[in-house]
């Protein structure tokens, strides 16, 4: 369970987070969606102890991150946006060091490493140096490392950024599997389809504030079911409709230059903030 109350973070005069309130219950896969600079990473950094909060409170499974930092850290695993594995160490050594940092006993470390490397399909690469792995394999290894100490909350900061569609789908499958195993997952992304596919609830974050929070279907249904993107002299314009028939009626009198598609979270974000997520 993640509880955040009036969380603020200031960098000089810049307000990176402006009074965030949030409650993520146990077992939920929750997503923060927003453009770069919205405050997604800052939120995760504060919750995982990498960044100091300016004001407000946050607790992980009841452990306040400021007054009980070590207990709070024991609750969570983190997959940061950038690859931060020790490239000069092997896959196995990276996981072993992580296990030691979280106080795992030798037998437990050995068993968990074997189990996780099988889980992320890296068992044959356990002796490889990390710098010999591809980007996709490093991402999978980072997820395995975050799961090493069996955290009850997993933070994923843009877990598939820079990966091709095929590998991204594979990592989505892995994330779903982790959730099914009982973990609470807090995900940040600026990929619309990622949030739609994975999250049971989504918060739109813009300029450090939550501007909407609901189930993806509810956020999208507010807009309608179908959308038409129309290219004109001023750029792309999107209109949303409740039914396909309504959309067709609209396009009847039009010539070319439009696309009919399903409404997505981007449309909902755009209508609320006036800007695109990606």
């Amino acid at each position: 369970m993640i509880r955040i109350e009036k969380l603020e973070k200031n960098y000089g005069n810049i307000k990176a987070l402006d009074g965030i309130d949030l409650h993520v219950p146990v077992g939920e896969l929750f997503a923060f969606l927003g453009p770069n600079g919205a405050g997604k990473t800052t939120t995760i950094r504060i919750l995982t102890g990498l960044t100091r909060l300016s004001s407000g409170r946050a607790a992980l499974n009841g452990h306040d991150i400021e007054s009980e930092p070590l207990a709070a850290k024991r609750q969570c695993g983190l997959v940061p946006q950038h690859i931060n594995m020790d490239s000069e160490l092997t896959v196995l050594e990276n996981l072993d060091i992580h296990g030691r940092l979280f106080g795992m006993k030798p037998a437990a470390r050995k068993q968990k490493i074997k189990e996780l490397l099988t889980y992320v399909d890296l068992i044959d690469r356990k002796g490889s140096l990390v710098n010999q792995l591809s980007g996709g394999l490093k991402r999978r290894l980072m997820i395995a490392r975050a799961l090493m100490h069996e955290p009850r909350i997993l933070f994923l900061d843009e877990p598939t950024v820079g990966l091709d569609a095929n590998i991204r789908r594979r990592i989505w499958g892995l994330i779903k599997k982790v959730q099914q195993d009982g973990a609470t997952i807090f995900l940040t992304t600026h990929y619309i389809e990622e949030a739609e596919f994975l999250a049971s609830r989504v918060a739109f974050l813009d300029l450090g504030r939550i501007v909407a929070l609901d189930r993806p279907e509810t956020l999208m249904n507010r807009m309608g079911a179908w959308a038409i993107d129309q290219l004109n002299a001023e750029g792309m314009r999107t209109r949303c409709f409740q039914s396909r028939e309504e959309a067709r009626e609209f396009t009847a009198g039009q010539e070319t230059g439009f696309t009919l598609r399903r409404v997505n979270l981007e449309d909902a974000f755009l209508s609320l903030t006036g800007k695109k997520v990606q």
Partner: protein
């Protein structure tokens, strides 16, 4: 505390093991050049209190080498912090600042002891016989502790690699040349000696040289090194918390 400390130290040892050949070669270059250029080439042209310049130089190189190698841990910490972002792995782990600092300081001291071994091996072909008793090693250990602790403290405070190089240029390089490494301080004016006795390396090279010459140095040098080391260690503990933005 112990598990975290071991994890931090073990990580550094594994990296050291992987880079061992390069690291040993790097540790050997400067002392070898100093031994050839200042020691061997000068021959008997200079002597100090009945000792040849080579005999005078080798303990100085031990003090200087252990200082630079112990302080070198700062560069590795910075690369891990700014380039590889591995420091975040430690920040997100449930380990105390003391565990992190102790692990890194031990890693710096290990590198320093390795460099002393390299210098002593390099000095063998020059036929210099010195004494390497327990007090010699204690002085070398304390010197390594002082500069490894300083390295961790400063590595946490700098904001970029460039800042780190600047600190090395302003702190380590002057100390390497002026801390009683290459010449006896008595040859300098009194006011300069007063300033140079404030440097920890001066006390370290004095104690290391005295023990290498078979003398028993005053306990003051050891106490001063221990006090400065403890101060830098405390400074490092405070600095780790500040590394959170």
């Amino acid at each position: 505390m112990m598990q975290g400390l071991i994890a931090v130290y073990l990580r550094e040892l594994l990296i050291l093991k992987r880079r061992l050949k390069r690291q040993l070669a790097g540790m050997a270059i400067s002392p070898l050049l100093y031994l050839i250029a200042f020691g061997y080439a000068m021959g008997d042209a200079a002597s100090f209190n009945g000792h040849t310049y080579l005999e005078f130089l080798i303990p100085g190189l031990v003090a200087m080498g252990s200082m630079t190698q112990a302080f070198g841990i700062a560069t590795d910490i910075n690369v891990a912090r700014f380039y590889w972002h591995i420091f975040e792995e430690f920040q997100a782990a449930p380990i105390s600042n003391a565990a992190y600092v102790t692990g890194e300081v031990l890693a710096g001291m290990t590198r320093a002891l390795l460099s002393i071994g390299v210098i002593l091996v390099l000095s063998l072909p020059f036929g210099v016989v010195l004494h390497y008793g327990p007090l010699f090693w204690l002085a070398a250990l304390l010197n390594s502790f002082v500069f490894a602790a300083l390295a961790v403290a400063l590595a946490m405070l700098v904001k970029s690699h460039a800042d780190q190089s600047l600190l090395t240029n302003f702190i380590i390089t002057p100390m390497a040349f002026l801390g009683g490494t290459f010449f006896p301080l008595e040859r300098l004016p009194e006011w300069a000696q007063t300033i140079l006795w404030a440097l920890p390396l001066t006390h370290a090279s004095g104690a290391i040289r005295a023990t290498a010459f078979g003398q028993t140095p005053g306990y003051q040098a050891y106490l001063i090194l221990l006090a400065i080391g403890a101060l830098f260690f405390w400074f490092a503990l405070c600095s780790v918390g500040r590394a959170r933005d």
